[in-house]
């Protein structure tokens, strides 16, 4: 936003009207705190959340009344809406802080070496030991294979959309990539189940899970690659053509390398997204309490599935394992996000 706009919108005191000074708002706030304290003493209300909500509501009412009496209804409304936006922002950040904080607090109990080096084989659900080694291996293999398939596939679709398509087919493909973005993960799982497991009788395996994840990764990879390829300036392509370089070599040697950092970012975000997918894995990989390092044969474990299964057990030790699994999952996903954003920031498409 430009400086002029900011000055205007923050508003110099208008010529005709009084403006509420900051101390008046602070006094209002103090008054609300005092009143809330009195309510607490009078009603013996113990819930801090309820008291906080009462305080916020009281402040909004009080601020509107004070502003109404000094500045008029237009400014009172303006102040009310500003406060509401701020409240919405705080309200949106709360669940993130809540989920992360609660997961860390609960997950640290079993965040030990046993958890990372042992599987659940021959471990009863009520036992305090046992770990997610098998699940971590499974997740890494499944997501790795999914990435190996969907990245080249997605890049080729993006190349087609940006460099080659010039008509009806391109628009249709682009539209269906959008539709694929909205495909529920459980439907992707059901599809691979119907095709790979039921129709082709391949059985549950890590690879079947990878195929389901490919369907979920593909649209994200295509969209981010497409955005990046569009950012590559035409002058680079034209310079290459002028030197007599064939189009496909131009794409492979000039366009794709230029867009590479952006593509890496997109791929990592896509990987982070499918890393936590549970529903398709539940249907296709099936879960396993022992280590199975071969993704092409037999059911495997997976980290999100491990969390889902452990929380379904009614033993405290199992639920503790679920929390630690969730913590590991969050750490991996956040790390991928962080790396992706860093790559995006430090290596923009160079013109």
């Amino acid at each position: 936003m430009s400086a002029t706009l900011d000055e205007l919108s923050l508003g110099r005191p208008s010529l005709a009207r009084a403006k509420l000074p900051l101390w008046a708002l602070m006094v209002t706030g103090l008054g609300v705190i005092v009143v809330t304290g009195l309510i607490r003493i009078a009603t013996h209300m113990s819930s801090d959340v309820a008291l906080l909500l009462i305080a916020v509501a009281l402040y909004l009412v009080a601020q509107t009344m004070v502003s109404l009496s000094v500045e008029g209804w237009r400014h009172a409304k303006n102040r009310l809406m500003t406060s509401l936006m701020l409240a919405a922002m705080v309200l949106a950040v709360l669940p993130l802080v809540g989920v992360l904080g609660y997961t860390v607090a609960k997950g640290l109990a079993r965040f030990d070496s046993v958890f990372f080096t042992h599987s659940m084989r021959a471990v009863a659900e009520s036992d305090p030991n046992g770990g997610a080694y098998h699940a971590i291996i499974g997740t890494l293999e499944q997501v790795g294979i999914a990435a190996l398939i969907s990245v080249p596939f997605g890049i080729m679709v993006a190349v087609y959309l940006v460099e080659y398509s010039s008509g009806r087919l391109g628009r249709i493909v682009s539209f269906f990539v959008d539709v694929m973005t909205g495909l529920p993960s459980i439907v992707a799982g059901l599809f691979i189940l119907a095709l790979w497991v039921l129709a082709l009788h391949q059985g549950n395996s890590g690879f079947a899970g990878s195929l389901a994840l490919v369907i979920l990764m593909l649209p994200t990879v295509v969209r981010s690659c497409e955005e990046m390829l569009k950012l590559v300036p035409d002058s680079l392509r034209e310079a290459s053509y002028a030197l007599g370089v064939a189009k496909w070599i131009t794409v492979v040697r000039i366009v794709l390398p230029t867009a590479l950092p952006g593509i890496i970012t997109g791929v990592m975000l896509a990987v982070a997204r499918v890393m936590g997918e549970t529903a398709p894995v539940l249907l296709t990989v099936f879960g396993n309490s022992a280590i199975n390092t071969n993704p092409f044969s037999g059911p495997q474990a997976s980290l999100p599935l491990f969390v889902f299964n452990e929380v379904g057990q009614s033993f405290d030790n199992a639920v503790n394992r679920a929390w630690t699994g969730a913590l590991v999952l969050i750490l991996i996903v956040l790390l991928l996000n962080l790396i992706a954003r860093t790559v995006a920031r430090f290596a923009r498409v160079r013109g």
Binding site: T4, L5, G11, S14, R74, H75, K77, N78, M81, M85, A88, M89, L91, A92, P95, L96, G98, Y102, M156, V157, L161, E163, S165, L169, G170, I172, V173, F176, D178, M180, G182, L183, P184, I186, V187, A188, L190, L193, A194, L195, I215, V222, D234, A246, K247, M275, E277, T278, L283, P304, V307, F308, V311, V319, A326, L329, I330, L334, N337, R341
Partner: protein, 313 residues
């Protein structure tokens, strides 16, 4: 983009191969979507034809025993939970989008947007865990409050005052999950509001809120509507978080505070374990097909709104 140049150059064999490979990848996307529909239909038809009840109007889900199963209760539960999630989540999401795009200073806006995006990165199984273990007991006071003062509204009525794993909890979890999507898309359209509109409003003496109401909101309207529709699609398809939070029942009940409720997606996840004959598997695949159809319609709708909005702007 570069087709005019292409015709002037000599075409090598590598060029043709590469072009055809790219085109093939594009066509493969179409085939993949067609295959999704085809295989779901293929596996659903035999099961639905053996259904002793009506697949669209039955409440029960008993494909193995009486062979009566239907998605009426599941579809109702899906729409109910998703709509309540929208009612909770959308005002907050639009508020967040306005705050980040219009109120926050630039230095704060970027990290805030990043934080909201992070919310979208949290895996749904973690939201499910949090919803089932933390949120569901902690929403009981609110449920009691709503039931005590607003119990005369059927939505907040309760048959046995037990609360706990209710549709309300699922809706709050879904609201948190659709919030980042709605907020991100809304933010993007709000940022694109023409500066002339905004400065014009301010020059006429509008307050900041009045400026937003007359310039930012009308400009972003179609974008926000399509964001809401896409958020609805996300909520409808969400599986594991809902499966972990709800204790599944097969009734149509508007009482969102009572334990129970179910959705199409959660039902698939919950019942898959004991579906070991072709009719119960086919029944679940048929319900997945319905879910697929719902999300297709929702997505078509959202894209159409975006396109119409673009044509107008």
């Amino acid at each position: 983009m570069t087709s005019s140049l292409q015709s002037t150059r000599h075409r090598s064999g590598g060029d043709t191969t590469f072009r055809l490979t790219a085109k093939g990848a594009g066509i493969l996307v179409l085939l993949l979507m067609a295959a999704v529909a085809a295989f779901l239909i293929l596996k659903a038809i035999p099961a639905v034809s053996q259904d002793k009840g009506n697949f669209f109007t039955s409440f029960q889900w008993d494909p193995q025993g009486t062979a009566v199963f239907g998605i009426a209760a599941l579809a109702f539960g899906t729409v109910l939970a998703s709509l309540i999630a929208l009612i909770i989540g959308v005002p907050v999401a639009v508020g967040v989008a306005l705050f980040i795009s219009q109120y926050a200073p630039r230095a704060v806006a970027r990290p805030l947007a990043y934080v909201v995006d992070l919310l979208a990165a949290v895996p749904s199984v973690v939201f499910g865990l949090w919803g089932a273990i933390y949120l569901s007991p902690n929403l009981i006071p609110l449920s009691k409050f709503l039931n005590h003062y607003f119990g005369w509204i059927p939505l907040f009525a309760s048959t046995n005052q037990t609360y706990g794993k209710s549709v309300l909890v699922a809706s709050v979890v879904l609201a948190v999950m659709l919030l980042p999507i709605v907020a991100a898309i809304s933010r993007e359209v709000f940022v694109q509001t023409p500066k002339e509109h905004m400065e014009g409003a301010l020059a006429l003496g509008a307050t900041k809120w009045e400026m937003i109401r007359v310039s930012v909101l009308p400009y972003g309207k179609s974008g926000v509507i399509s964001a809401i529709v896409l958020g609805f699609g996300r909520a409808v398809g969400e599986t594991i978080a809902v499966a972990m939070v709800l204790s599944s029942t097969y009734t149509i009940s508007p009482h969102i505070l009572d334990p129970g409720g179910n959705t199409i997606a959660a039902n698939i996840a919950n019942r898959w374990g004991d579906a070991n004959d072709s009719i119960s598997q086919g029944a679940l695949i048929a319900s997945g097909l319905v879910l697929f159809a719902i999300t297709l319609v929702v997505n078509f709708g959202a894209r159409a709104i975006i396109r119409r909005g673009k044509a107008k702007a």
